[in-house]
């Protein structure tokens, strides 16, 4: 089955793959923050350009990126429709009683560009390092332990959860259940999802036992092989400069 692995291409070789994950996460987070704070539409295109450049440099196939970007695009389409028709301003296009406002269109374009750029930047940030190393990097940069454990267990058990879900739905289908748009389907779906949650809860108890039996006391402790060199800082400086540049250009008009 298809597994939602963000680190599917972590084995490739690129300047982003060889970059220390700690510096990479911090630098690209600064870039993401910078992009989402942009207010000038023209400069936002520059932010998008930077994001596309980093995806290109990461060698992650664009087909893989687009597959994961489709959910963002789905929300963006809804945003375009709602904002273009509801934000007051000069009419860009008029269709009988409907009017698409220029301000609404520009606002939705601005938000869309920011969102797409931010999501695109996730790929060079997390897709170029094995997920376990990204977690260790987050641990090193003092992200709260609880959050890291949450991410780690989600990543480890999402695959099992999906397998379990598939098994439950296959079992239902094998006994003649057909998904329809009616109340009975909703009821069955509710039962199946409920069963999935009960099983997941049982599993969490067993995992907790296994952790306790190996000395777990609430804190996650791991070893890592992360090493820093001047190249990591140079790449970091370049990306942070890239993050500041659109703002400087914006101020200069």
């Amino acid at each position: 089955m298809h597994l939602p692995e963000i680190d599917k291409f972590a084995h490739l070789k690129s300047p982003l793959h060889s970059w220390d994950p700690r510096v990479k996460i911090i630098s690209i987070s600064v870039l993401i923050l910078s992009v989402v704070l942009l207010k000038d539409l023209r400069v936002t295109f520059l932010g998008l350009g930077l994001a596309i450049t980093l995806v290109f440099l990461s060698k992650i196939p664009f087909s893989f990126v687009f597959v994961h970007l489709r959910w963002v695009l789905f929300f963006i389409v809804a945003l375009f429709v709602i904002l273009s028709l509801t934000v007051p301003g000069s009419t860009l296009v008029g269709l009988s009683f409907l009017g698409v406002s220029r301000e609404g269109f520009e606002l939705s374009l601005l938000i869309s560009l920011r969102a797409i750029s931010a999501v695109l930047l996730i790929f060079p940030m997390l897709g170029t390092t094995r997920f376990d190393l990204s977690l260790k990097a987050l641990q090193k940069i003092k992200v709260p332990d609880k959050l890291i454990q949450l991410l780690m267990f989600t990543y480890r058990y999402i695959f099992l959860f999906l397998d379990e879900q598939k098994r439950i739905f296959t079992a239902a289908t094998s006994r003649g259940w057909v998904r329809k748009t009616n109340l009975s389907t909703l009821k069955t779906m509710g039962n199946l999802v409920g069963m999935l949650l009960v099983r997941s809860f049982d599993r969490t108890e067993r995992i907790r036992d296994a952790m306790l039996s190996r000395g777990y006391s609430g804190r996650l402790k791991t070893l890592d092989d992360l090493t820093l060199c001047w190249k990591d800082f140079l790449k970091g400086a370049l990306v942070v400069t890239g993050a500041l540049m659109p703002h400087l250009l914006g101020w200069m008009g």
Binding site: R156, R206, D209, S213, R214
Partner: protein, 242 residues
């Protein structure tokens, strides 16, 4: 042989009122292999969970290597008594094999170098040396079972407890696991329904039913006692003429 586990009048009641263990008395000796058999719900897993303090005795005494299993010495107990759970996906909860095998030694406070050596030796012990960087969810079931063993061997325990070690394994993986278990000289307690496995690696068998020990003796004698086995919902192993 010196006594390594001493259990006296152990009782345990689950929060829902189910009496899982009723007056268990058991001794296990150093380097002995003991099989724990019984029908489903007999209390096998509950008994095993008492041996490294995951469940606290409701009444009675559990002593491991001369230490009473109490909160204050729980880390020492857990280092010496290792449990491999039935389902490997419950045992392998870290993103990579290395992290999983290193989890116990790190929690025990081993220095970094010792952790790395322990991981290497444990993986070598289960013949999976090249798997350090692999993700647990990409392993086959048999590989997961072996790595599960490594996760506790890295803690260098003195007592190894295995809950249904061969369940869901294909014949080849089962055979490999049995060979592996035979090669370990440490004290073993094996719980399960795979009576051939128990006959193959255990000198002594303890039969548990409804929370009580109903038989405790030489593996071949207990497992070949047809009336005893059948009266407790079990069958003779095929090799003993079932």
């Amino acid at each position: 042989m010196s006594r390594i586990i001493k259990i006296r009048n152990l009782e345990y009641v689950y929060p829902d009122g189910t009496k899982a263990l009723k007056g268990i008395d058991l001794d296990v000796f150093k380097e002995e292999s003991v099989g724990l058999i019984g029908p489903n719900g007999a209390g096998k897993s509950t008994l095993l969970l008492h041996l490294n303090g995951i469940l606290k005795a409701g009444r009675g005494l559990v002593e491991v290597l001369g230490m009473k299993v109490k909160e204050r010495n729980i880390i020492k107990v857990r280092q010496r008594v290792a449990i491999v759970f039935q389902e490997p996906d419950d045992q392998l909860f870290m993103p990579t094999v290395f992290d999983d095998v290193a989890f116990g030694p790190i929690n025990l406070g081993y220095p970094e170098e010792k952790v790395r050596v322990s991981v290497k030796e444990a993986l070598k012990g289960v013949r999976m040396e090249s798997y350090e960087k692999r993700c647990s969810h990409h392993l086959s079931f048999g590989e997961k079972k072996r790595i599960s063993l490594a996760t506790v061997l890295s803690m260098q325990p003195e007592i190894l407890i295995l809950d249904e070690p061969t369940s869901n394994l294909d014949p080849r993986a089962r055979r490999h696991l049995i060979e592996l278990l035979r090669s370990f000289t440490l004290t073993k307690i094996v719980a399960g329904h795979d009576l051939e496995l128990i006959l193959g690696i255990c000198q002594r068998v303890v039969l548990l039913d409804e929370g009580r020990i109903v038989a405790n003796g030489d593996a071949r004698n207990v497992l070949s006692n047809k009336s005893l086995m059948e009266s407790h919902g079990l069958e003779l192993p095929l090799s003993l003429g079932a």
